[in-house]
């Protein structure tokens, strides 16, 4: 399982940049909302490829396993 990480930079003038890693889809937005509640409103959101993945499990039938 991929760990979920949040990197936070707080500059000396108080601006905050957060980098959410390992979060997918709705889980990412859930943590984004927590950060907004704790710190303040988002002024910029850049979603990356992993954001658009979904946290689902897939059942795979392997051809030979049915015999």
């Amino acid at each position: 399982m991929t760990p979920k990480e949040i990197e936070i930079e707080i500059t000396k003038d108080g601006m905050v940049k957060t980098h959410l890693k390992g979060f997918k889809g709705e889980k990412c937005m859930e943590y984004a909302r927590i950060l907004e509640q704790l710190i303040g409103p988002a002024v910029s959101v850049e979603k990356t490829g992993e954001y658009y993945e979904t946290e689902t499990s897939i059942d795979v039938d392997v051809e030979g396993s049915r015999n």
């Binding site: 979920k4 990480e5 500059t11 957060t18 990412c28 704790l38 710190i39 850049e46 992993e50």
Partner: protein, 160 residues
């Protein structure tokens, strides 16, 4: 990587103890002393009765001012040499920094006020992240460092 989010911190003025704690941590770490903590006693503060001082007052734009009164005015004063710095919350939640000094121009005092206000907001956000984010998200802080430019970097991790 999932998302990069830039946030504009809001200092929740109703939480005065958290603001005063952040201000104290910052100011004491750079050599200031606490002069007063209660608004009602400001008549006795170091700012009174000194005529030759320059004074500037700055409003913190990212304070959570509300329409209705949230309680009494609060303030905390710090001094170092001839400089006095007052962090003040008014009854509507507006936060201000008042800096005064004898041998400094207004622009110098304004620059100092901006710098100190930024550091206090930085400390306030740091406290919120370290204390509240770990509690509400179940994440654990695994790294923390301070860059040469005084940016604080924190890394939290969860395996859930």
């Amino acid at each position: 990587m999932s998302a990069v989010i830039i946030l504009a911190p809001i200092v929740i003025a109703a939480a005065w103890p958290a603001i005063a704690a952040a201000a104290s941590a910052v100011m004491i770490s750079i050599g200031y002393s606490v002069a007063q903590t209660v608004a009602e006693t400001t008549k006795e503060t170091v700012l009174q009765g000194v005529n030759a001082r320059q004074t500037v007052e700055l409003e913190l734009k990212n304070s959570s001012e509300v329409g209705n009164s949230i309680g009494r005015e609060e303030e905390i004063t710090f001094t170092k040499d001839d400089i006095a710095v007052v962090f003040r919350r008014d009854v509507r939640g507006g936060l201000r920094v008042c800096v005064s000094g004898e041998n400094h121009s207004k622009s110098e005092l304004e620059e100092l006020g901006q710098e100190l206000a930024g550091k206090v907001i930085q400390q306030y956000v740091y406290n919120r992240v370290v204390n509240e984010l770990q509690k509400s998200s179940g994440m654990t802080m695994i790294e923390q460092e301070v860059d040469e430019d005084e940016t604080i970097r924190i890394k939290l991790r969860s395996w859930e």
